[in-house]
Structure formats: C-alpha cells, structure tokens
C-alpha cells in the first residue's frame, strides 16, 4: 500500500478519482450533458428508424401505412431461444400475437408481450395510429447482446469460459390488416416444375 503512494503518482491518482466523481470540473455544460446517456443506446439504427419524416402526401396518393419500430436491449435470455418465439409471431396481428405470448410458458414470452404492448401504446400516442388493433407484426427477430464472461471450473484444473447470455429483441409494427399468406398446394408446385421443364430452350440443336 505504502509503495503505491509515491509522490506524483499518488497525487495523480487522487486527482483522477476526484475528476471522475465531479465531471463538472472538466468541460462544463458539454460534459454535463453526457451524465445520463447510456453507452448502449446512443444512436442505434433500429430506434433511429422511428425518426424518419416523410413529406406530406398529395390527396390522390394511397394512404401510407404507419410503421413503428421498437426494441428492447440486453434481455437476460438466449437469442436462440427467443428466436423461436419471434418466428412464431411473424405476420400475426398484434392482438393475436399478444394473446399467444400471454399463454406461452417461456420466459421470453413475458418480455416480448411487454415490448408489444409498449409498441402499441407508442403507436397510438406518438405515431398517429387510429385504431390500436389495426396493427400487425411485420418484422420480429432477436439479436445477440453484450455477453459477460465468467469461469466455469472443470476437473483436473481445467476451466471453461462461461458466457452470461444477453439478447436484443426487435419488432416492427405496421398499420393495417396482416397480409394473407399464399397457400401453394403440392399440385401447384408440381405444375410449376413441369412448366419449367417444358420452357427450357435447347441451343445448338437440329
């Protein structure tokens, strides 16, 4: 301890500590503004998509459907496990998706339901959506968050690096009724195959 306190180094460490405690000393108003920003959420592209402004539409153009992007970061869950739920609700209407998630037993389902409800409320309040049920899930996927690393002890002095997994969840709600999925029967697929065989061109033949 005593060896660590050597003259200039000691004063430097004290000054450094005080500097970190009182950010006002350094740059004034500029530094104060960065007291409360979180390093994870500074200008992420998914949230920035909500800030795009379109020019006013002419009266004869078809009404542009509203799009709302919402996400939740650093959820304590695995991205692979969350993907199953995200894939399940793709293309569903918002009410249907919320109902399915409410009665699903997985941990990620509760979090996803909160995210969807938040997005629905944001849509009505901030993005001029008229009916909160008139929305459907256009895009929904999970992404990898920042992992924490820990040691997992094995036998014989061996160790493994244990990852504490975190994930992000992204959802995009679009105004309108959900698009109908085109059902292709096996007969249709067979017909298309035969058509592609028939429409082949054979070059350099007699």
């Amino acid at each position: 301890m005593a060896t660590a306190m050597t003259g200039r180094g000691f004063i430097g460490s004290i000054y450094g500590l005080l500097q970190t405690r009182l950010p006002v000393l350094g740059g004034g108003p500029l530094q104060l503004s960065c007291l409360h920003t979180s390093s994870l959420l500074e200008s992420k592209s998914w949230e920035r998509r909500n800030l795009k402004v379109y020019p006013p539409q002419l009266p004869d153009e078809p009404r542009r459907p509203a799009e709302i992007h919402h996400s939740r970061r650093q959820i304590k869950y695995s991205k692979d496990k969350l993907w199953y739920l995200a894939k399940m609700i793709r293309g569903m209407s918002v009410d249907e998706a919320i109902a399915q998630l409410e009665f699903n037993d997985k941990k990620g389902a509760k979090i996803m339901k909160e995210v969807l409800l938040e997005a629905q409320e944001m849509a009505v309040k901030n993005h001029n959506v008229e009916y909160k049920s008139n929305l459907y899930v256009a895009e929904s996927y999970s992404g990898k968050g920042k992992y924490l690393k820990r040691i997992r002890y094995h036998g014989r002095g061996m160790f493994g690096i244990m990852d504490k997994v975190y994930c992000h969840y992204f959802v995009k709600l679009v105004e309108g009724s959900p698009p109908r999925k085109e059902e292709r029967t096996s007969l249709d697929q067979a017909k298309e195959y035969i058509q592609s065989l028939k429409s082949r061109t054979i070059i350099h033949s007699l």
Binding site: M5, L18, P56, Q57, E67, N128
Partner: protein
C-alpha cells in the same frame, strides 16, 4: 492447478527411478537422471476480468490527501442561468364577451371598436414605464410590429428554424409551440388581416428583484389563416390547406426592458373562455371510461361524456 499435476509426475518419476535403479543395479550408472523433468504446464490464455478486480477498493483517498498536506481549492458547483423571460402572463387581459362577433355597423359594434386603451389606468402607467426604457415605443406602430413578429415566428416554425424561432419567441413560449411538432410537417399561411391589430393591454411586472422590469403588451388581432398539420408519414392530421379560417387572437409580446439588447418577442396567447371550440382532429380517439369497481358493469347508454369547463387559459 499446475501443482497437483507436478506432484503426481514427481511421484511417477520417483517410482520409475526406483524401478530403473533396481534394473540397472548391475549396470554402471553413467549419468545421473535429473530430478525435475520440464513439463509443459497449462498456460492460462484467458483470464476473465472479474478475477483480477478483487481487493482494489482504496480506503479513503481524500483523507489521505488531507493528511499528506494537499489542499484543494473549494469547488463551486454553480452554473449561471440567464432569465430572459417571465414564467407566465401577469395580470392577464380578460377579453370582453362577444368580441368580434357583432358587425361594426351596429351601435354595439361601434362601441367595441372605439374602446381605447386609455380607459385602463394601469395599462397607461405600464406604457409610460416602457417608454422610459425604450424611447421608440409607440402604441400605434407597435401593433403592426407585433403582427410582423407573429407572422415571422410561425413561418420559422413551419421551416423549423430553431435559431430564428428563439430570437422571435420567448423561452416560455418555445416549448408550447414546438412540443410534439418535431417529427411532423406543419403548413401555415397568413392569408390577410381582417382588422388592423390593436394594443389592448400592457403591464410591467418585475421578477425576483425590484428593478428587474419586463414589459408585457397584449395585442388583439383578427385575421385569416390556413393551417394543415401532417404526421410523420405525410398523412393529414388537422386542418386543410385550402380552407382558411377567421381567427381572433390576443397575443402577449414581452421584452426584458432593463437589458439593452432585449427584443420584443412573442410570449403567449390568451384564449378567452367564450372562444368557439376548435375543429376536431381527423382520427378517432378513445376517451378513458369511468373507473369501475369489480362486479360493476359499464352502462353505455346512460353514460355522459364529461365536458371540460369553459375557462380562460393561456397558450
């Protein structure tokens, strides 16, 4: 971790040594077998950060600094704030009922039109105080200037020119004008003025200390304007661009009189209690219903939507 391996290897080594000694007892031992064989140990390539951080908490560096004799100058955590505008409208003007509803040819209409500011003594005192500080203040010119400020401020709002808007509008009025408008498109047009603007009221309040004077002047304007607000996706939210509306407004213009660089800026609007209701927005909105106890049912037929009380308020 490496220790147990080494120990087992040593014992193995000694065992083999003893065996060898027995086997080679007859033969001559030419060279001694070394006691420690170099063994490749497991090198830790990755050390997670949590391991090295134990025991780094320093006890009290400030106390140690004082003991060492270092003196720090007292830090003043202060930030000077300049108050350039008041927080509200002091002693507001109460517009008479039925203003601008009667035609100017009738007796009552003429009475309304000829109502002059000389009737109120407090306004006269205030105007005299303003003229002490600002020598160029004239009631007749000021109304025209006020209208110009109003038109320029709203044009800056449509283009969202922040610097120009701050110079034309006080800090109290700025958030009221711009809240929620950042991601919307506003199209506003001043068509014409139906009546010449008039100064109807003036007050000179002072904030905090006695000599800190601010001048607030109320101007009455009757004009035709068009307003259309589009949301983020370009869909019409309110109003229309072709239909213009007759608007009767009471603007409050303020200036920090003591400051030689102060400017007359729009401070707010007075909305009288008898003002007609504004046009509804295009979309339908859910009104939150009454709070029900468990077991109580909502009677949709007999439920009356509560209407807001007609009060004069300041925008």
């Amino acid at each position: 971790m490496a220790m147990p391996m080494r120990r087992t290897l040593l014992t193995l080594h000694r065992a083999t040594q003893s065996n060898l000694k027995n086997a080679e007892a007859s033969l001559d031992v030419l060279h001694p077998i070394p006691l420690l064989l170099p063994v490749r140990t497991k090198k830790r390539y990755f050390i997670p950060p949590a391991v090295g951080l134990k025991g780094k908490s320093e006890e009290n560096p400030e106390a140690k600094a004082r003991a060492a004799g270092i003196v720090f100058r007292q830090q003043y955590l202060e930030r000077p704030i300049n108050i350039a505008c008041t927080a509200g409208i002091f002693d507001p003007y109460i517009p008479p009922e039925g203003d601008a509803r009667l035609s100017t040819l009738s007796k009552e209409g003429l009475k309304q039109r000829t109502e002059q500011i000389r009737q109120s003594a407090a306004s006269q005192l205030a105007i005299r105080k303003i003229k002490e500080h600002d020598s160029e203040f004239k009631t007749k010119d000021f109304a025209e200037r006020a209208q110009e400020i109003f038109i320029e401020a709203h044009n800056a709002l449509t283009q969202f020119n922040k610097e120009k808007l701050h110079s034309l509008v006080t800090e109290r009025c700025y958030p009221e004008m711009t809240r929620g408008n950042r991601y919307k498109t506003i199209r506003w047009r001043f068509v014409e003025s139906l009546e010449p603007p008039r100064v109807v009221h003036a007050r000179c309040p002072d904030m905090v200390t006695k000599g800190n004077l601010y001048g607030q002047v109320t101007v009455r304007m009757h004009s035709k304007q068009t307003l259309a607000i589009y949301d983020r996706f370009g869909r019409l939210m309110l109003g229309s661009e072709e239909h213009s509306k007759d608007v009767l407004e009471y603007l409050v213009i303020e200036r920090h009189l003591i400051n030689p660089y102060g400017r007359w800026r729009l401070h707010g609007k007075i909305v009288p209690s008898w003002a007609p209701a504004k046009d509804p927005i295009i979309k339908t909105v859910i009104i939150p219903g009454p709070e029900l106890k468990p077991g109580q049912e909502f009677d949709a037929l007999n439920y009356e939507v509560p209407k807001p009380v007609a009060v004069q308020w300041y925008k």
